[in-house]
Amino acid sequence: MITTTEKRFDNAQEIIKYIDTLKAKREKKLQKKSYMSVLVLVVQPVARGRCMQNLLM
């Protein structure tokens, strides 16, 4: 989470303003900060007979 502020928005202007704040924070983070992103391929069980690779790989 960029922030963990719990917030309920009661009008559109309020959320638009908040989104702008988050966008600015994100830009700052992408440009200046080091962080790591891990993409993990999740292998999920699927029903028997559904795997195309059985036939074609």
Binding site: I2, F9, A12, I19, S34, Y35, S37, V40, M52
Partner: protein
């Protein structure tokens, strides 16, 4: 892998060394799959963007030491591009990604899929805020002008569907998201729901507002537990932020959305069967009309769209119709996600604009075949899609062009089939699936798919005649024209298309030969008299007693008894048994 990264970083005390935005900001983020399944697990280190493929937990410490701390790439873990044959440091520089056109998948590895605030930081929910200040009909007109077509298979214009639901009178209206992705090998919807659930949810909320719905359901198959988890989390977050529930953003619009887990029946991807399943009934299709927009869930007007369709909505509203229509072709604007499988160098989820050719996908994105063989066909549109021959690979991929050659975009499954595969066997394989998944409600589908399958089995077993070929064509046509729902109507597509483009393979099977050599019924195991040492190991291992002989003489196989299991080959120590034919 994720846990290992967190552990090692904590062990090394690196959470102090790494600069963070906020105190509670973890250095390791969980993102969704970027689509490059064949090279996973992938690790991308930001902000350099250095990406590693086929990473194991044993590589984690080295990645942290060399790349995260010192900024140096680890050569052996870098992806080798199958097209340029160069090592690629950044994922975005791999031709697999460079040659795609991203629209709804453009946040590859950049976003934290569980966080509503991360989605908002990318401009998420701006479209909803904008939509709630607009007239409902105005939103529908925008969707109509965009030319967005349903991504679930039929390609029906989304705006028209919304308009029909808007015009239907009813005290209650429902909105439904069809996430019952049942095609073997297809996982576009799963990827989107797991990686960007808020984009789908925002699209649903906007659609619900546009048609005046008060309640909604996301029908997600239970085999997608992570998608279910992510979407439930997204719903809860949206409720916390006042984007779902009563009086959304202070307006008089209220909406509640529930997740309904599907039990895995393929037919429940058909919209009327899906509605029956949500109602707690057996998932079987209903005759149309009335269409769901007129009388859907519990007889009330219901708008039902696919995951990917909803995934486009917020972007169209945010970026505008013009921007959306810069991709794709006139009658099929925008992009489409496809899942590509088969013996290709790179497989996984891709996004391309409509009008892209199959050849471009196979060669410029997936890097050609991994086994060096020629691709003789592709199967597109799921198990009830069509098999297209190589001469059609240069046709633009869009709803209307594919329809003109007897194929369909379907949900977006693409399977590459190389020349060592038997097209009759491919048709049999898909019919095996559709016959098992037939709900049994209508006779043409229930009986027709079974009969067609039995005939196809005769072909692969070398027992078919020319009369069977005629019967197969006849039965396929009956199933196509007389079935109640889309499953039945499209089930014979693999047969019809292979008969159209690969008929010679059917004829060769009648003549006693499988041209690809795949159907074992046309082959036989023989024992070489020169190599046989009469050890009797094969005879003792044969489960059907098909091998006999006596000491000092070569053993022989009784072809009438042989079931071609191949066990004898694995037992023979002298390489005396071979498969011929």
């Amino acid at each position: 892998m994720y846990a290992k990264f967190v552990d090692v970083i904590k062990q090394k005390g690196l959470d102090v060394a790494i600069e963070k935005i906020d105190d509670d900001d973890e250095p390791v983020k969980r993102t969704g799959c970027c689509g490059l399944c064949s090279l996973g697990p992938l690790v991308k280190v930001m902000p350099s963007g250095i990406t590693y493929s086929h990473v194991t937990v044993d590589d984690v410490e080295e990645i942290i030491e060399k790349t995260l701390i010192n900024g140096e790439p680890i050569e052996r873990l870098l992806l080798t591009d199958p097209i340029s044959h160069q090592k690629v440091e950044r994922l975005e520089d791999a031709t697999f990604f460079k040659n795609q056109t991203f629209y709804i998948m453009n946040e590859i590895g950049k976003s934290e899929c569980e966080s509503i605030e991360d989605y908002m930081a990318r401009g998420g929910y701006l479209s909803l805020a904008k939509a709630l200040s607009m007239d409902r009909k105005e939103i529908i007109e925008i969707i109509k002008a965009s030319g967005l077509r349903g991504r679930g298979g039929g390609g029906f214009p989304t705006g028209l569907k919304w308009e029909a639901a808007y015009n239907s009178k009813g005290d209650i209206k429902y909105i439904v998201c069809n996430a019952d992705e049942g095609d073997p090998g297809a996982f576009m919807n799963r990827t989107l729901l797991e990686r960007d659930p808020h984009s789908v949810l925002e699209g649903m909320i906007i659609a619900a507002y546009a048609i005046g719905a008060q309640e909604g359901y996301a029908y997600i198959r239970a085999e997608y537990p992570i998608a279910v988890e992510m979407f439930n989390k997204a719903i809860e977050s949206a409720k916390e932020y006042g984007l779902l529930g009563d009086n959304i953003l202070g307006t008089d619009f209220s909406l509640d959305i529930h997740v309904k887990e599907g039990a895995g029946a393929f037919v429940c991807g058909e919209e009327t069967a899906l509605l029956s399943s949500i109602e707690g009934k057996r998932g079987t299709p209903r005759p149309r009309p009335p269409f769901p927009a007129q009388a859907g869930l519990w007889g009330k007007p219901t708008l039902i769209n696919n995951v990917e369709t909803y995934g486009n909505v917020a972007k169209i509203l945010r970026d505008g119709v013009e921007s959306y229509r810069t991709r794709g072709v006139q009658k099929s604007p925008g992009t489409k996600m496809f899942s590509v499988t088969g013996p290709l160098n790179l497989t996984g989820i891709i996004e391309v604009q409509f009008g892209t050719t199959l050849r471009y996908i196979l060669e410029n994105i997936c890097g050609g075949t991994s086994n060096g063989r020629r691709i003789k066909a592709i199967q597109i549109g799921g198990p009830s899609g069509a098999c297209l021959p190589e001469e059609l690979f240069d046709l633009p991929l869009d709803y209307d062009t594919l329809k003109s050659v007897g194929a369909m975009v379907g949900s977006g499954g693409i399977v590459a089939i190389t020349d060592d595969r038997c097209m009759v066997e491919v048709a049999r394989f898909f019919l095996d699936f559709t016959k098992r998944e037939s709900c049994g409600k209508c006779v043409p589908c229930r009986e027709g798919t079974m009969q067609a399958y039995n005939i196809l089995e005769k072909f692969t077993q070398g027992k078919a005649t020319y009369e069977d070929l005629e019967t197969l064509e006849y039965v396929s046509e009956i199933v196509r024209t007389a079935s109640l729902c889309g499953l039945g109507k499209t089930a014979p597509n693999p047969i019809i298309s292979t008969l159209k483009y690969f008929k010679e393979e059917y004829i060769e099977h009648i003549e006693g030969k499988c041209p690809s050599g795949m159907c074992t019924a046309f082959k036989k195991y023989i024992i070489s008299p020169e190599k046989c040492k009469s050890c009797s190991l094969c005879a003792r291992s044969c489960p059907n007693g098909a091998i006999s002989g006596e000491r000092g003489k070569p053993y022989v196989i009784d072809q009438d008894k042989c079931v071609k299991c191949g066990l004898c080959v694995t037992k023979c120590k002298f390489g005396a048994i071979e498969l011929v034919g």
